[in-house]
Amino acid sequence: MKPLSIRHLALLHLLLTSLILLAMGLYFWQEIRQTRLRFQSYEDQTARQELAEGVQIVMGRMRAMGDSLAQWDETRQQLSFREYYTLWRDERVHNSGLLATKTAAVALYDESGRILPGSNGPRPMPTSVPGKPPTSLLIRDAGHENLYYYTPVYADSAATLLLGYLGLRLDFRNELEQARAYRYADLDSLRIDLPVGKSLDTGRILAHLRIRAQDNPQLQEFQRLLESSTIRLALALLISTLIAAVLLERMLVRPLRHLSGEIDALREKTHSRIAPQGLEALPLPVQELENVWRSFNDYQSRLAELHLDLQRSSQDFFDQARRDALTGAYNRRAFDEHWREAARDRRLDNVALLLFDCDHFKAINDTYGHNVGDAVIQAIARCLQQALRVDDRLYRIGGDEFATVLIDTDVRHSQTVAERCLEHILSHDFRQNGLSEPVTISIGVAIAQDIPETRERISLSELQKRADLAMYTAKRPGGQKIVFYTPALGNVESLVASRPINAVFRAIQDPDLLEMTYQPVVRLHDLQKEYSEALVRIRFEGQLIQPREIFPIIQDRNLDAEFDLAILRAIHRDMDDGTLAPAQGVSINLSAAGVINARVMDALVALLEAERNRKIVVEITETTLITQMELATVNIRRLRQAGALVALDDFGSGYSSLRYLASMPVDLVKFDISMVRLLESDDARQRHMIEEIAHMVLSAGYELVAEGIETEALLDRVMRLGFSHAQGYYFGRPVEDEAAQA
């Protein structure tokens, strides 16, 4: 249902009010008429009551007169001596004072009821007595309604000696008028339902009388006053209603329509601020409307503020969606959008893309933990941002990878910016972030201007690939940390999508690509090989991929657990095919991710259970324990329960403190080759420290394994320090076929 407008509602209200007023007026009018009718009915009843009383009085008086006459001596005189009867009837009776009215007529009748002889006189009476007196009748004569009363006349007081009868006639209307004063009854309206010449017993006279009340001028005046008052009241109400309608239109409808218009305008122009108008034009401002206007303005203001806040929030959300929460730099999404905008605006001429990548960030993260890693990333971001121009945007496009785009630049300027960025990183003191060694970054730069053959239009993906290639080049050990792309860097695919990467992925899918070599670990007290450490290589497309190429790829792509599983399958394969002799122990390097990976654990436990007769050493790094200490501890205990010995590998090569050593559930501690070689250092203090560490570990109950034993002198040193095992080229290089060697 379509809602009604305020104007329609006002008109409807006016119409309803008018109808109600009309109905009330009609109601009051009807009530006045009803009241008048009730008064009229009351007056009619009162008039009839007065008439009844009048009739009663007349009848009483008539009987009293008749009885007085009947008992009058002179009446008996006339019935006894009738000589002067007519004189008595026509004069004496009327002068006697016994008749209260002059219109009365009297006649005497003998004992048989016949009228006494004599002319009937001026007031003729019936010639005989009707019925058996005493009787009273109303007879309608010509032009008159007369009451007749006949009563016997006795000679004695005991009423035993009948002399005759007396007849008395009274004019009914005249007697009624004389009987009493009438306030309500209108005797002129008296109508008697009696045919002419017919008689009626006076006992039933009232039933034949019709009368109405006198006109009551006071009542008529009262009714006229009420009617005129009602009309005046109706007019006053009508005028009031019209005035109210005008006021309603001026004070409510119009402002509301204006307000509605303002709201419509506001809806159409969401950002515009509508000034309250029309309210000031009101001759009599309405408080509530002013409040509405004020509230509307406040609401509008708050709405505008809210809109502004929403815009800010939206901008914030927009920015947040495009900002990296950790560093505040733009994120990958913003990078992609800005790239697309730049491509749409064809602003790729003289554009340089700089990619920054933190060197060894994974090692930092694994060694110091994520908190430190995050702090390092934040510091790098701050340094880069400080190094860039104000309008240059810094993007974090990967975990430790940043980028920036320099517009309207050239090689020299790009070089300057890149060097400034590198300097800021190198000059930053990362020790405040808990690091004890410097952090470096590799910077790859690709400039569209520098490619003459593609100057017309270079694709974004191509520019990104070039910057990636330059950055990967810069990350190569021993190279420049800032590398500009040149075609001499080679094919992007050949570098980025390199054979080692493909080999790693393929090897994970097919562990047969893994070629395991086993380096013997010698028990020093008898110099006998006790077991061999399994080392991995990948033979892919006819070439052998070395561990130094393999593990960065695995770490960069978080393939540790999958690669551990592949190695386990390869070792299991070697055990099955006899590459490893049945009694030959083997030491397996397990990545930190593998230690806390359930699949790796299950596979390793299965291997342990299957090879219970074989000594199996599981080598883990201290990073494993640092990352997830509790889960790693549980899993290591599970391995030990399954029969494995656990060795802490590369001890002394990382950043961990000695605190972890005390809580590590390991059986062996393998001194890193860098630690072992310090035993040959000229610095006596370094030698002494290594010796003391070895003593400390040994006194803690661990067996010590020395890596990198290549000379007999070094062997002597470690044997003198109490190392229980040693491995290195002195004892033999790793071999593919352990069984054959054995």
Binding site: D73, S80, Y84, R92
Partner: protein, 285 residues
């Protein structure tokens, strides 16, 4: 003997009770007219008083009624008839304006009937007492026919039947009335008579009263053979000029009650009673 005394006392007490109780007696005349009288029986041996009321009055007229009561109280038998004046069982005073068809002779006849009624009851000592014009009936009765039963005549405030027309015109009026009454003309005449300003009656009937002027009254008194006593009030304004003086000169014994008017009312009732009793004592001797 004692028993006889007891019966005598009881009889006396019973008679005394009867004397105080009035009875209405009716008497039918030969013309079928019915008369009524108030009868108070008294002590045997005492005179019977027959009280005749004044003109147009009844026996209930206050002066006579109280006198009758008093006399009855004294042991006198009292008969107080109401003259019918042509109206059977008349019980009301007849208005002056009524049609008067009665004559003095009619009343005398009724008086005679009542005397006969008394005689029939062995009342032999009857005292006739009249008031005002009622004395005309008693005088007329006593002068028409002597009656041995009537022992005394007492007149109270006796007055003439006077036509109020003036001395000069009265003879002519009387002549005209006499002339009319002499024939069969029964037309009514209307004259100022006695205390009535308009008295309408046939001429003969009117004359029956009007002929009783002072002279005829005095003559009648002198004609009566029994003692006649006249009790008059000194302040009676209905009396004619020199009437008391002329009356005193008559045969009658005139007693004047000083200060009394025509009706002897008020304290003069007792004076009247005393005088009447005195007359009755004389009559009883």
């Amino acid at each position: 003997m004692a028993k006889l005394l007891s019966w005598s006392l009881a009889l006396l007490l019973g008679l005394a009770g009867l004397s105080a109780r009035a009875e209405t007696m009716e008497l039918t005349l030969p013309n079928h007219g019915v008369l009524q009288a108030d009868f108070r029986p008294g002590t045997p041996g005492k005179p019977v008083v027959l009280l005749v009321h004044g003109f147009l009055q009844t026996h209930a007229y206050p002066t006579l009624h109280r006198l009758a009561d008093s006399l009855a109280g004294e042991g006198y038998t009292v008969l107080a008839p109401t003259l019918s004046l042509g109206i059977p069982r008349r019980a009301q005073s007849l208005a002056c304006e009524a049609i008067h068809t009665h004559a003095l002779g009619d009343g005398v006849a009724e008086l005679r009937a009542w005397v006969a009624w008394l005689k029939a009851r062995r009342f032999a000592n009857i005292v006739l007492a009249g008031h005002s014009m009622g004395n005309l009936y008693t005088l007329s009765y006593m002068t028409q026919r002597p009656d041995a039963a009537i022992s005394r005549l007492i007149g109270i405030s006796i007055v003439e039947g006077s036509l109020k027309i003036g001395e000069a015109a009265r003879p002519a009026l009387l002549r005209r009335l006499r002339a009319q009454a002499a024939g069969p003309d029964r037309r009514l005449v209307k004259e100022q008579f006695s205390f009535c300003k308009e008295y309408r009656a046939p001429a003969a009937d009117l004359l029956s009263y009007a002929e009783w002027g002072p002279d005829r009254i005095l003559a009648a008194i002198d004609q009566v053979k029994v003692p006649v006593s006249m009790i008059m009030g000194s302040q009676d304004d209905r009396l004619g000029k020199d009437w008391l003086a002329r009356l005193k000169r008559s045969h009658a014994r005139v007693r004047i009650i000083e200060g009394a008017n025509h009706f002897m009312d008020g304290p003069h009732e007792f004076d009247l009673m005393d005088l009447v009793l005195a007359e009755l004592k004389d009559a009883g001797r």
